[in-house]
């Protein structure tokens, strides 16, 4: 994208670039499979309330009927409190996807701004911002998230904050490096020459041109974030009961892993499928967005 001259870019041209990316993406079978699976998961998640009643199927307990293997009534069996595993997994998709998307978007926005400002202005500001990011990066992201949850308390909002905080530095670095590579390009210079404000240059010129690698990273990031959030709730941090979160279900199933392995297998499969589909899509997007591979 950097090869084109954005100064001369007309709206039609922009669309054609997106079309080109889409054409390249369509040729990649793995990416399309990933996209298809991801869309299916999204549709199931969004339409879940239409065919599952939260109060009677997801949270209603039936303790005498606990830990029953898959049957016609409960296609994926029941969990340790006699709740239907399938209904919980489908509702769990809503939670995992919400966490993944919201966290990725907020981490991207904050990290992106920090990275763009640091890369654009350079100098002392760059040093200060990036050293702060380095400090965050020097802590293992899981540990940082655990520390944030320990100080904020558990809950779905706090889990998103905790994971977002640990992902901000990654996005900041990526955006900073792509901003660095374009900030001395001629079209930026010409924008400066005609007296465009810094804010406008960042918003109108830098970000659109630096967004390619970020989209890829964000797609992959959603998957990573879903895993991080599941990991946190697996450790008993984060999601408050009775919300059906996949990581939490995995951790509850762990106790009976030897007698009823399906309680671990199904949530595990859900996490795996979602993350795999996002990774395939992300890889495909990277190939499609990288003009060198043309």
């Amino acid at each position: 994208m950097a090869q084109q001259n954005p100064a001369a870019q007309a709206p039609t041209k922009k669309r054609s670039q997106a079309q080109e990316v889409w054409m390249r993406l369509k040729k990649n079978k793995q990416a399309m499979a990933g996209l298809f699976v991801f869309i299916v998961i999204c549709i199931i998640a969004i339409s879940a309330p239409l065919f599952i009643d939260y109060d009677t199927q997801v949270v209603q307990q039936n303790i005498p009927n606990k830990i029953k293997p898959p049957s016609a009534e409960h296609p994926l069996g029941t969990d340790a409190l006699g709740r239907d595993v399938m209904a919980r997994l489908i509702y769990g998709a809503r939670i995992s996807l919400t966490i993944g998307l919201i966290t990725a978007i907020s981490a991207l926005t904050i990290g992106g701004l920090i990275g763009a400002v640091a890369g654009f202005y350079g100098g002392k500001l760059d040093d200060i911002l990036m050293r702060i990011m380095d400090i965050f990066l020097s802590l293992p992201s899981m540990l940082l998230a655990i520390a944030v949850i320990a100080s904020l308390g558990s809950g779905i909002t706090n889990i998103m904050i905790a994971v977002a905080v640990s992902y901000i530095p990654y996005y900041a670095r990526i955006i900073r490096s792509s901003v660095l590579s374009i900030r001395n390009k001629e079209y930026i210079e010409s924008a400066r020459a005609i007296g465009t404000s810094d804010f406008r240059i960042i918003m109108k010129h830098i970000i659109p041109n630096a967004i390619g690698p970020v989209i890829v990273q964000a797609t992959l990031g959603v998957g990573e974030i879903i895993i991080s959030a599941a990991g946190l709730s697996f450790l008993g941090l984060g999601i408050e009961p009775p919300l059906p979160e996949w990581g939490k279900m995995l951790s509850e199933g762990k106790e009976v892993i030897r007698s009823s392995p399906y309680l671990v297998i199904f949530p595990g499969l859900c996490i795996m499928t979602t993350v795999l589909s996002l990774n395939l899509l992300g890889d495909g997007l990277r190939d499609a967005l990288d003009p060198r591979l043309k």
């Binding site: 303790i63 409190l81 308390g153 408050e240 009961p241 106790e255 009976v256 892993i257 007698s259």
Partner: protein
């Protein structure tokens, strides 16, 4: 070429894995040894600073007490250990112990009355144990083989208490000469530490050749740390360990099905209870607490949280304890009544509530989820506030909670009711529950020497506790232990004491 190299590397790695799996079992040199799994590492092997169950299980192997109370403090069946016999003065205030004169510590020092005095004086000032010794006035060395304790008031708890591991006899020289007594402990017991104890790592005990008692069948004990019971059971099945305490209900079927293993199950003294902060609204309203009591179905709690492996609690005292009564109803679940009580209390639409729970306790976590669902039926919207253990307990002791799930393990009626019901009780947070009648009853019971009268007093106490309802007693999960079927003589005393000294291993 590269591929070949990769294959070779893989093979080497795989071999390394197998080598690492090769087990720690020593060559069979005819010495009978057992391997004991611990859920967590003991933090110290100093009996006076013991806080964890793991420490208790280890210390019982290497220390002796003046008297040995079989089955903890429940039974009055107390037999001599380091004391050969004892006399109690007519007013019940002076206990004179005649001590054995053939006992030596692991460091070679001879055991005398000075050591007994040193031990008792130490326990009386150590912060974790001093509350146990409130009845002791002073301790006296009469002569080398005679030790005397004077009490402030007659106490039926005193003698059984002398059999608790906190009162394990230690040697003054060993403690004062070393900065690291807690890692290099010295006792008089049948086993002693082979080299050094490092918290977090496995360690080994060997038979103490100079032990004063009969020689045990098993000469070596290895302690290994298995934080996850699933792994512990697999190790048990593979023969890597011989004894695994504190298993969960999910392990029962697996251990039972394995003919090389034997399952032990005993009612435990660990009560799971729901405490409600009476200092805040709406929990200061008797009707609200009663409504909560009637909304909770303990049958479901027992089945859901511990698979039915345990007992429903109607009071803090289980069926083995003095003062246990069946007059208090076990399960008062009655949804209609609970709803009516909520209306009478002025909360027809319910309220929202924060339930504080220790997230590292799997049973508590399950109880919390079930209670959350049960209370939702009477309009109480429960937020399950999961905190890790340290935060949970500091929130409790700072009275920073609305309702909370707690556990308490005491094999003794006096401690149980004092902690939970007395105005000054440790787990009566912020003195929220204070009933002068209750305090008087508890104090009277602790000074009563006649067992039948004490039982009657404890019965009155728990009935009053049920009427005032500062806490709702939920259940006593069973203690579950898995062991190698070749070991005979395993007995489970008040959950934490598993003395290997009395075991035999049939090869």
């Amino acid at each position: 070429m590269k591929k070949k190299l990769a294959v070779i590397l893989m093979l080497v790695l795989a071999l390394c894995c197998f080598a690492a799996c090769g087990g720690e079992k020593e060559a069979d040199d005819g010495v009978k040894s057992v391997t004991f799994s611990l859920l967590g590492s003991p933090e110290s092997l100093d009996p006076a600073t013991t806080t964890s169950g793991a420490s208790l299980m280890v210390e019982i192997q290497m220390y002796n007490t003046l008297v040995y109370s079989d089955g903890g403090m429940v039974s009055s069946d107390i037999r001599p250990e380091l004391a050969t016999d004892w006399t109690i003065s007519d007013d019940g205030l002076t206990y004179t112990f005649n001590l054995r004169n053939d006992v030596y510590f692991h460091n070679g020092e001879k055991f005398t009355a000075a050591d007994a005095k040193y031990t008792f004086d130490r326990v009386m000032v150590e912060p974790y144990t001093s509350y146990l010794t409130v009845m002791i006035k002073d301790t006296v060395v009469v002569d080398e083989d005679t030790f005397q304790v004077n009490l402030l008031y007659p106490s039926a708890d005193f003698l059984p208490m002398c059999g608790m591991i906190y009162f394990a006899i230690v040697n003054e020289k060993a403690i004062t000469s070393s900065e690291t007594f807690m890692y290099e402990p010295v006792g008089t017991g049948p086993y002693m530490l082979a080299d050094k104890f490092v918290p977090g790592q496995g360690f080994k005990f060997v038979y103490n050749e100079n032990y004063w008692g009969a020689e045990p069948d098993i000469k070596e004990i290895n302690f290994e740390i298995y934080p996850d019971t699933n792994t512990a059971v697999i190790a048990l099945q593979n023969g890597e360990i011989d004894f695994a305490p504190a298993l969960t209900v999910n392990d029962v079927a697996i251990v039972e099905a394995d003919k090389d293993l034997k399952l032990y199950q005993e009612p435990s003294y660990t009560i799971n209870y729901l405490t409600m902060n009476k200092n805040g609204a709406p929990y200061n309203n008797d009707l609200v607490r009663d409504a909560i009591n009637h909304a909770i179905n303990k049958e479901d709690l027992l089945l859901g949280a511990v698979d039915g492996v345990g007992e429903i609690a109607n009071s803090p005292l289980n069926s083995l304890m003095l003062g246990y009564t069946e007059d208090i109803p076990f399960n008062e679940y009655d949804l209609e009544k609970a709803k009516q009580l909520m209306i009478d209390a002025g909360y027809p639409d319910g309220f929202s509530c924060n339930l504080l729970v220790n997230s590292s306790n799997a049973t508590s976590m399950k109880l919390a989820q079930i209670i959350q669902y049960q209370l939702a039926q009477i309009g109480i919207d429960v937020f399950v506030d999961q905190q890790e253990k340290a935060t949970w307990s500091s929130n409790l002791s700072n009275s920073n909670f609305e309702i909370a799930l707690g556990t308490l393990n005491w094999p003794d009626s006096n401690n149980m009711v004092t902690y939970l019901y007395h105005t000054q009780g440790t787990f009566n947070y912020d003195r929220a529950y204070s009933n002068p009648e209750m305090d008087a009853l508890i104090e009277q019971a602790s000074q009563e020497l006649d067992t039948a009268k004490r039982a009657d007093l404890y019965e009155q106490i728990v009935k009053l506790g049920h009427e005032d309802l500062p806490i709702i007693c939920l259940l006593f999960p069973n203690e579950i232990v898995g062991a190698n079927a070749k070991i005979d003589g395993i007995k489970i005393f008040d959950n934490t004491y598993f003395p290997v000294y009395y075991w035999t291993l049939n090869e």
